[in-house]
Amino acid sequence: MKLIIGQFVPGDSIIHRMDPRAKLITVFIFVFIVFLANNPWTYGFLLAFTVLGILVSKVPFSFIYRGLKPVLFIIIFTFILNALFTRQGDVLISAGWFQLTTAGLKQAIFISIRLLAIIVVTTLLTLTTSPIAITDGLETLLKPLKKWRFPVHEFALMMSIALRFIPTLMEETEKIMKAQMARGVDFSSGSLVKRGKAIIPLLVPLFVGAFKRAEDLAMAMEARGYRGDVGRTKFRLLKWHGRDTGLLSVLAVLTAALILMRG
């Protein structure tokens, strides 16, 4: 069983090898600077950055498309809305109340690029960074919040334990499903209500099992000396390389270009 948690696609590109912190910062800033763009030049830069990202990551385009699919509808919808209801500039096509203007088309294209860029860049982050690396990155980046009593370490540990137990619980679900099917529960036919009811004998043992596991795990963690964040060292190390500084520099240049070139 090859199980991919989240949508991470293992690989060895320079983006895969980048520090999760650098990637997280980049995505975070990128989402904001997208809104600086307001003319063909600046939107061109955004598009170029996004396409470059895809190319360098060597992630097959089909994976990115898969990430885009659920939101494609929203992009098309906003495209149409913008195209229809912006009534400035020269009229290109006109039929009855329907009117497509140059300004409308431009606006529609711009907004679509904006949405596309944000979604592709965030997808690229999750495609090239393992969930555990993202957790580590977030833990270090959010460390300052500890001052305000935000349980950063606990949060990160919870994430990593959740990730570790996903395959275990999936296996268990499968086992319970087979056991219930052997006793005549039908999961795959009947009305929606009927199918929903069939899920109950699946969920109850799954939850009971999960709580039992949680109890065992808590005991095992205590036996191994876990006492929260007190005096704890870390084994997984995040290393900042030249390439990470490079990524942030590219981002800085992009930001500068957007500010200088925007109309």
Binding site: R164, K212, T233, F235
Partner: protein
Amino acid sequence: MSRERLIEVKDLSFRYKADAPLSLDRVSLEVYAGEWLAIIGHNGSGKSTLAKCLNGLILPETGTVLVDGLNTRDEDAIWEIRRRVGMVFQNPDNQFVGTTVQDDVAFGMENHGIDRDEMVKRMASALKLVNMEGTENREPHRLSGGQKQRVAIAGIIALQPSIIILDEATSMLDPKGREDVLSVMHELNKTKGITVISITHDLDEAAGSDRIIAMEKGRIVLSGTPREVFQHPERLLELGLDLPFAIKMRQALSEQGIAVSPDAFSEEELVEELWKLKSTI
């Protein structure tokens, strides 16, 4: 064997709920450095509860538990006690904390604040000791039960403990996994001098120990070397335990009127005696 006392349990009593019967009833015992002690008994005999008292997961209602002179009631000493007394639990899945083998081995060391360079060194040698080198980046769902238990053992060894408690650690494993885990533990017991306390209802496993303690209803009812304990097979059956093959064989033979000495309790000894039985040399 040195007779240095590692753990001293005195008049230990415990119950889970105030109105429940005692799970442990005035238990006293000593564990000596370097020995392999098997604690046997059927479900609910209190053997697992006793094990959890030894590293302070459970605190006694009355009586004391001393580990190397440290009292489990002492809040300042509890973490040091847990470092010295490692514990492998029954379910291989429910004690695997890390997302990969190396993260799991590191977990205990991280908790005890061990320096990262030192962690890397200890991890390599610990994984080697349990024959799991080269699996550092493996995820738990790609490991067998026996492999997971060996990773758990590696995580404990990395903390350089003096005692490892196996709390029915082999009961959910297939025969091969069980054998791997036990042979690793015997190796550690012999070469590293790590004291092993194995909580089990598998008498075949207990037969390989230095000393056996049998429990029933929270009390110690039998204790001695395997040879001594297996002298009373009927008593073990009364305790709800399944006898090892060699003992059953011996009993069946004596019922048939074939006199085998009551000393033979391992398979080899039995064979040794049987082939000489009719010999006239």
